[in-house]
């Protein structure tokens, strides 16, 4: 039985046993449901093997929403534990596991796929392309992300969750202080999904540089596409760094090397350094597409073109370069000298300048606009003041001398949630509402959506503003409890209430989806928001080839010009269209990656080697395969077009 002992949970509790049962039942239910409704074939043909960027985008979206739920439950558990002093709801080990998985899931498996969802769905439509540059690679990216996420999530019920924080600092994450396999999960799961992210980066950069519609020069690209381009430049720059760091961490844990150990010359601080060389740009990877979405939404609902297009682009490029020069501000207190700290302090503060430029540009876009207060617009308007608070506290933290006071307190926790929630989460919800009709052919209910927005904003302020105060008073982050004498009790209770309000708001969003599926009208046309860029120029639902005729573009708001100035968007006639074939290999290869990761985590060398060979076999198969894609005939296109015009 020794063999099976390794899979046991080191610190079991009722909650974990309950989740095991729940996960088991869900899996059985899904399998039974698919079999009963005979949907296995449909699932395989239409989704698991698809290379269509729109379907991949939707799968990213669904995964992100599920992970949002998982990370959200973690968050509620954390706040519940801290709600009253000396609470016994979670023991210290569980608290450590929950804040570690909360962080990793929210950053890697919620925010990343959420932005990938919009990148995949929107960018090819916005630039008038038929698909991304490498559709098969795109499917592989998604499945690697998906299986990485699944691998991370099963840690909860097999072998134990990582418990060294989402930063997983050594020596805490080393074998001596984290003996169970949790941190192996961290290393392998992020590695696998990180490879997927890197591929997406290569894919998107190539797509945007090489597949734009005729006439769309770089400075005539919609702002969201620009933000995606800059984001992917950062992805390609920094994901190799985390790849190396994770590989070194894995070797430390599995092969007995001493990279980050405290003996035999190892240097634990090197991990922190490499982690943040990736980790800081990573937060800009999340925020820049959010900025792009806000730009689209604010311009659409102000009825005006975006103010300061060129300065928007310039500021994003400057942010992307600066974001790779600031990483040491995450460890000002680690022991490096004043010179290094001053350098990183100054570069950090400099980022506030281009970000400020963007804020003013959005404000000037609103100026004298005919503003429509739709749900996406409300999120965008809520974002501006809340994000500014987060940004200003960020400048406080950037001052290295003062940082010695704030470091590792709840003040920091308040700061980064203050940028990530109004920055990224609001943008994702705004984007979700904005692009929902394009994706699914009906609108989300505005009334419920507005309730959700207000509850989320109020809940957010209630949950996180008190942390600024308790943090300045000295409440440390990542501590599972505090004594009553500290006086942190009431403010933490307030945070808990705020977290509850946010949970209600997310429940409302889920209800809104249900309500809108049932009651929303379906005849909304292709352009329900009266929007400005190319993605709204094609039909809803979007046919698989996106545009029957390649659009010709003369400005960054091509569709608006077509509507208002009579610009001819689709000159030419229908020709046969070349499309890529579906393929099951990305799915199979990623599944083998999952087996490989799992075997590595538990040091099962033989299955690890076999699955590694399997991975290379998939690559060899791809190399020797002769796949020239297929053509959609003119007749077929014309039939589809007539049918879709009939709907609208």
């Amino acid at each position: 039985m020794d063999f099976f002992d390794r899979f046991a949970i080191p610190n079991p509790s009722i909650a974990i046993y309950a989740s095991m049962v729940a996960i088991g039942l869900t899996v059985v239910a899904i399998i039974a449901g698919l079999t009963y409704f005979k949907k296995w074939g449909y699932l395989w043909r239409e989704w698991l093997t698809t290379v269509d960027h729109k379907r991949i985008g939707i799968m990213y979206l669904i995964s992100a929403l599920i992970m949002l739920f998982r990370g959200g439950v973690d968050a509620i558990m954390l706040r519940a534990q801290l709600a009253v002093p000396d609470n016994k709801l979670l023991d210290p080990q569980h608290y450590n596991e929950v804040f570690s998985t909360h962080g990793v899931i929210m950053v890697m498996f919620m925010a990343m796929p959420f932005i990938f969802a919009f990148m995949n769905y929107v960018v090819p439509l916005q630039i008038g392309a038929r698909d991304v540059a490498f559709p098969r690679l795109n499917a592989l990216s998604f499945w690697l992300f998906f299986f990485g996420a699944m691998l991370f999530n099963i840690s909860f019920v097999i072998g134990g969750s990582p418990d060294a924080g989402w930063t997983s600092y050594f020596p805490l994450a080393g074998n001596d202080l984290s003996p169970h396999v949790g941190t192996n999960y961290y290393m392998m799961a992020i590695q696998i999904s990180g490879i997927g992210s890197l591929m997406t980066g290569i894919n998107m950069i190539t797509t945007i540089f090489k597949m734009r519609a005729p006439g769309m020069t770089l400075m005539k690209m919609p702002m969201f596409t620009w933000s995606v381009l800059v984001t992917n430049l950062i992805i390609v720059t920094v994901f190799p760094v985390i790849t190396v760091a994770l590989a070194m961490g894995t070797m430390d844990r599995l092969f007995g090397t001493h990279f980050f150990a405290t003996t035999n010359g190892g240097m634990d601080m090197l991990w922190a350094n490499l982690f943040w060389v990736w980790g800081h740009p990573e937060v800009y990877i999340l925020i820049l597409p959010a900025f792009g979405l806000y730009s689209e939404i604010i311009s659409t609902f102000s009825g005006r073109n975006l103010y300061g297009y060129k300065s928007m682009v310039a500021s994003m490029v400057i942010i992307s370069a600066l974001s790779c020069m600031v990483w040491a501000h995450h460890f000002f207190t680690m022991g490096q000298g004043a010179l290094a700290n001053s350098f990183f302090s100054i570069t950090t503060m400099m980022i506030a300048v281009p970000t400020g430029v963007k804020i003013f540009n959005w404000l000037f876009t609103l100026w004298k606009g005919k503003i429509r207060f739709t749900v996406p617009m409300l999120y965008s308007l809520g974002f501006i003041p809340l994000f500014v608070i987060g940004g200003v506290t960020g400048v406080m933290l950037a001052m290295s001398a003062a940082d010695y006071q704030y470091h590792n307190t709840m003040f920091l926790v308040a700061h980064f949630h203050n940028t990530i929630i109004p920055g990224v989460v609001f943008a994702m919800l705004a984007g979700l509402t904005y692009y929902w009709p394009k994706m699914f052919g009906f609108m989300l209910n505005e009334r419920i959506g507005k309730w959700a927005f207000w509850l989320l904003s109020i809940g957010f302020c209630l949950a996180f503003f008190p942390m600024y105060i308790t943090g300045l008073d000295g409440q440390a982050r990542r501590m599972y409890t505090y004594s009553e004498a500290t006086g942190y009790g009431p403010l933490n209770m307030l945070s808990f209430v705020g977290a509850g309000v946010m949970a209600i708001s997310f429940a409302l969003i889920v209800y809104n989806v249900y309500y809108s599926v049932r009651y929303s009208p379906r005849n909304i046309g292709a352009d329900p928001w009266d929007a400005r860029s190319l993605e709204w120029a094609t039909h809803t639902p979007v046919p698989e080839y996106n545009f029957a005729i390649e659009p010709h573009v003369a400005s960054s708001e091509a569709f608006w010009d077509a509507k208002k100035k009579g610009h001819e968007l689709f000159p030419g006639k229908v020709e046969k269209i070349h499309m890529p074939n579906s393929s099951g290999v990305p799915f199979i290869m990623s599944a083998i990656f999952f087996v490989f990761g799992f075997s590595m985590i538990f040091s099962l060398w033989i299955p690890a080697i076999i699955s590694l060979i399997g991975i290379f076999a998939c690559m060899a198969h791809r190399s020797f395969e002769n796949d020239h894609g297929r053509y959609i005939s003119v007749k077929e296109i014309e039939e589809t077009e007539t049918k879709l015009r009939g709907v609208n």
Partner: protein, 198 residues
């Protein structure tokens, strides 16, 4: 597929152009991958614990041979691509075979070097320095190994299908990869070996 005959074969379709462009982006990412390895190497270079230092284990002769072999293979694959562009399939294949054989020789010397290190008591587990040295060299060595398999697969395809837009495209991309590995080796040669023995 639209084939544009005014361009070299490897660029002749739109997808081909994108493949080459995308591979350049990938190589840019590889620059960062090796930069991270160098960053870690420079940080851990003098942290030898109780193990040997670089000056104690490096030897100039095998390193010089490895450098010469790899530089030559970079030259021969350049000739291979040139032969491909003037439509000389047989010459191109010969140059590619020579390249791969040189790669194999390089790999042999590198493996021998690793065995020597281990005999001298410099293993993966000895110290942070030895681990980092072996990881950096090993990453490059694994790239070369992967290249040998990849190059062989491409050669088989060229042999079977001839010089088509697709095989030409693959061969050209492979040549980019191989040159890049040569560039990385130059940096390893300069900043690990020569700097360590200086």
């Amino acid at each position: 597929m639209k084939v544009d005959h005014t361009l070299p074969l490897e660029y002749s379709t739109k997808q081909n152009g994108m493949n080459i462009f995308g591979f350049w982006v990938f190589l840019a990412a590889e620059i960062m991958l090796f930069a991270t390895l160098f960053t870690s190497y420079f940080t851990l270079e003098h942290r030898t614990g109780s193990g040997p230092s670089g000056a104690e284990i490096f030897e100039i002769a095998p390193v010089l041979i490895e450098t010469f072999v790899l530089l030559t293979s970079s030259f021969t694959i350049g000739l291979g691509v040139h032969a491909m562009r003037i439509g000389r399939k047989k010459a191109m294949m010969t140059f590619f075979v020579i390249t791969l054989l040189l790669g194999l020789v390089f790999l042999g010397f590198e493996i021998d070097e690793f065995i020597t290190y281990i005999h001298e008591g410099a293993t993966l587990q000895t110290s942070a320095f030895t681990a980092m040295l072996m990881t950096t060299l090993g990453t490059h060595g694994l790239h070369v190994t992967f290249g040998l398999f990849w190059g062989t697969a491409i050669l088989l395809q060229v042999k079977k299908r001839g010089l088509t837009p697709e095989t030409a495209n693959k061969s050209f991309i492979f040549s980019l990869y191989w040159h890049f590995l040569d560039v990385v080796w130059i940096f390893i040669f300069s900043f690990i070996y020569l700097k360590g023995m200086m």
